[in-house]
Symmetry: C2
Subunit: 700 residues, 2 copies
Amino acid sequence: MKKLILALTFISVSFLSGESIKSPSGALTLKFFMTPSGQPGYSLTHGEQPVTGKSVLGVLFNDGPGFHTGLKLISADTSTHYEEWNPVWGEVKTIVNHYRELRVKLEQTKDKPAYCFITFRVFDDGIGFRYEFPVQDNLQYFTVKDELTTFNLSGNHKAFWIPGDFDSNEYPYKTTRLSDIDASGGSDFFEISTKSIVGKNVVQTPLMLKTEEGLYINIFEAALKDYPAMNVSVNKDNYELRAVLVPDAVGNKAYLQTPCSTPWRTIIVSDKAEEILSSKLILNLNEPSIIKETDWIKPQKYIGIWWEMHVGKASWNYSDVRNVKLAGFDWSKVQPNGKHGATTERTKYYIDFAAKHGFAGVLVEGWNVGWEDWFGNWKEDVFDFVTPYPDFNVKGLSEYAKAKGVKLIMHHETSASATNYERWIDSAFRFMNYYGYDAVKTGYVGRIIPRGEHHDGQWMVRHYVRVAEKAAAHKIMLNAHEPVRPTGLHRTYPNWLACEAARGNEFNAWSRGNPPEHETILPFTRLMGGPMDYTPGIFQIKMDYYTPGSKFQVHTTLAKQLALYITMYSPLQMAADIPENYDRFPDAFQFIKDVAVDWDDTKILAAEPGDYIVIARKTKGKDEWFIGAITDENSREITVDLSFLGKGAPYNAEIYKDGEDASWDDNPMSYKVEKAVYKTGDKITFRMAKGGGAAVRFSR
Amino acid sequence: MKKLILALTFISVSFLSGESIKSPSGALTLKFFMTPSGQPGYSLTHGEQPVTGKSVLGVLFNDGPGFHTGLKLISADTSTHYEEWNPVWGEVKTIVNHYRELRVKLEQTKDKPAYCFITFRVFDDGIGFRYEFPVQDNLQYFTVKDELTTFNLSGNHKAFWIPGDFDSNEYPYKTTRLSDIDASGGSDFFEISTKSIVGKNVVQTPLMLKTEEGLYINIFEAALKDYPAMNVSVNKDNYELRAVLVPDAVGNKAYLQTPCSTPWRTIIVSDKAEEILSSKLILNLNEPSIIKETDWIKPQKYIGIWWEMHVGKASWNYSDVRNVKLAGFDWSKVQPNGKHGATTERTKYYIDFAAKHGFAGVLVEGWNVGWEDWFGNWKEDVFDFVTPYPDFNVKGLSEYAKAKGVKLIMHHETSASATNYERWIDSAFRFMNYYGYDAVKTGYVGRIIPRGEHHDGQWMVRHYVRVAEKAAAHKIMLNAHEPVRPTGLHRTYPNWLACEAARGNEFNAWSRGNPPEHETILPFTRLMGGPMDYTPGIFQIKMDYYTPGSKFQVHTTLAKQLALYITMYSPLQMAADIPENYDRFPDAFQFIKDVAVDWDDTKILAAEPGDYIVIARKTKGKDEWFIGAITDENSREITVDLSFLGKGAPYNAEIYKDGEDASWDDNPMSYKVEKAVYKTGDKITFRMAKGGGAAVRFSR
């Protein structure tokens, strides 16, 4: 996280209203204004095209006039910033942070005079803005009743959306015009157990949009650390979006203390879909790493005792008793159900497999007591995070793993009982340190405790950050499942390798699953905020393999599962299928063994949300490239230019592609592995089956 | 806590309905019945007098039919229990637990068959009953929507009440007929900052009642550990009381898991007010101590840096900055306000004073950072419990105290941010162990976090118990301020020496205070559940001594302040005034130095709620008796018989009494100390001024 170059050029210009600033290249123009009633606002244009028309801003307080009308513009200062910085891990080695900033000072004179700033940062690929509340005499503590931020869109754009929800983001995406959004939910979302759908016209961010004119717009937020997450309501008359914050148990939105800021509200915009995916705007709006020594943070691939539970071969729970009180429960008196996944024996098998095939980590879910009645009871004392089931020898296994050069990955399912987790977390992390675990997967399935709070409200947002900070203090890497959607905080907490926070591959095992287009949308939405632990690599596509008659299946071809290791960026990638299935397809498995997880460079070669994505990435510190190409439910042929390959000798390419008769529904496991030779400037064509994909490794 | 005698005699009798059982002596008769609609109920008579008429029972669930109507009586078993047990500390050395029990099994057949028990225990001085939910196939987890328990009173009794409230019990008592209760609050309760008054007809328990016929009835609960506290609503048409449970953040009452029970609902009844005060029914309904070794638990007197803040001589806060964020705050850069109470120097002065006069502990409030903006902001990260202010040398003081044979008493004000306290509590208790603190005073001033929860709801009830359990694990004694009202849990957790949980002496320092009758009501209400840290011993009665023109004052005479050490039972008694005031009145102070805090025996010599109380207590393990006598706003003469004194040689009595010209308002600090000689069977007459009292030490 060393800054290569830090160059700040301040050009302060005071102006009063109606002034505009342009992005460094001039591609974007932001205009700030004050309404006659004293409300601030902005508009944004991309070249000549409007991105947002006049859009008003403001924050309403519970305990004072807040900042929304009757404001006086005191000053407006502009400056230009340029820096390059190196993330601890990432898609590229060096990130350029280049923007022009407009910082306006607004005074509230209704009550005791108080002031705030709105800071706009205008990059060439979008903007971020936030409300800032400095320390001042008349503003120390305040409660946000509502945020009045709007995004006044220019038309009835195509939208890639999921319903606004205070608790879940595990929905499949819908693609409709803004006017056709119906996010009221209903049976269409039955498989999501814990949800709090906001209403018909409210959708989540990141919200991906495409205009009639072909402009791509992404609306989201950055650096959500101490505030609720933002949904947006859609006014179908004028296509104005308005912030809808997640409330707390008593209906308030946020409790703030000066100095403080809201998260950045972001608009990423380009006429090229590829540039949306390559944007580093959200990362740039986050703070640098708080972790000084980062050598213990290791991007990695892992396997785990996990998919076998999803497909019904094994259980998280050790027994089938239905009523467990952890304190004093005598597990030796319980009849095991014979299906428990996390046994010592099975874990050793996974450790052996990881050691043989070069996986750094082995996740074991269901190792700890409490799974018998962990879900659905709004139970507070549900797990203790330190007591293994009788058939899981944590000491023996930690020694066995160490001897094999493999790390066990801890699992802390909280059942959304965050109060309970906070009580145990110090013990749990000490336990991990003691037994040599250096990574944890957390889970928040269920209704939140403190009761009345939501997964995406301020209290839980602070909880997730608190867990990341505590993990960092214990040198533990973090992978959070069912948290709030990430907003680039992995810049600040690089030990926070990944999150789930969207509909992962697991839904394919036991529900109608994820439609073939799902993975072509996620990078434009959920992944804008950070890596996703999507858990790709399922080779056994259809679930009738396990359960005769089952109609459940993964909605991709096998080859597309490989491509996801490239198209779904994460420094933490699971080989999610059970080892036995990898043994059945060793040639395809070779790609998972070979693929890198940390990169010097990334090229978005082709992309259209909902249709296809082709991405090339260069392995960190190595003359090696990978390409992943995926399509939606349509078969597709895409040709891309390989001019990014290094000059000189050609590269040997190992190509993993759909069989000619492959399709996600009829013949998903048909694939071919071919070798070929390519050099820089060559073109390569991917013929992808319906729901298919391709993956290539270039090396020399 | 060794049981002297344990004798259980089971006499099982099955009967179907309409049967009655009598208390061991036959004084009370409980009748159980089922209504035609299948709802259970009971009635209670004292001799020939009705205590409650037909009173229906039941529990409503959110997630099932619950147990209220359509129930089938399956069985009814009676048994008799007799035991004697010794509390770790208490008002008497040995407690007799003698009751007859009726346990009815009720089946709910509406849904999947489920059953519960209602267990009645009938003592000679009252009854307890509770709902019990054993482990069973069709009942594991359930949510209590409401409890339908009623107490159908026989008439328009006189009631000593405070408003039903989910957050505060710091009200002065009102004495009215049931029909005249108006608990809607309003400006009458302005000085209570955090309150959630339930409504006009809802009052708190313990509710003390007196019938026209002179029967004393006390309605309360015992063993409140995992359930919300009970208020009662008063039906003014028929004088039926009905349980009103404190809701959680989403309006539910309790989350339970079988096996579980509600707290005991208690009715203590006698035609002698004295017998209400001597009842051990609530303690007997609690579970025995969970603490095996109890030698570290020490009833004690203490002084503290505390009253000087209440009277405005000093401040809890070190500085007058208004906006503190603990993490990273640089206290060395802050200007002290010059009034900080908890300085090293002042604490040494208190340690010296304690050592000189034989006090075991010195409480220091305001020692830790965060008091600048601790209240009123619903702030979560308000204290860390381990960081002293720069002018409080915790290491030096802990060594100084140890050298002087005195213990510092820790103070953990949480500002009602229970989540924050739970995060810090392990560190805070380790800090205490490290620096030799063995007692903590906790505080819960303000609105609860988790927001939406209440002081008296299930979540907080569990929190207080969790703190007591954790304290026990660290061998720490606990004194909780602003918790839920106690219900005899000090039997189970004898390290939980005392609670505030009512309107303490402090209100006299800065509000209209506590009326002279206040201390004659508290033993009949709040103290029924356990010791109160009332903080008696204020010698400087009027506050204009500190603040010229102040109208605030303690509403007693000085002599009555001494009597409170006897009439307000607690194993933890503060000498609450500042040492300088004790130096002014060394002869009166001698009583505080002499008075015991643990007792072999207690005699309630005379009592009438709202009017007067005279109690004699025998020092544990010593041939020494004390008497405390107090009156309300009326001067009063009471003569009591000293037949409890030991036979043989007479006792030397040191008598502390009101001066002849004393009265709480005009001349409260007029007192006399006299010596006399009394022997068993003598009579002693106390002439008490308005708001006055008397205290005597008998020794030989």
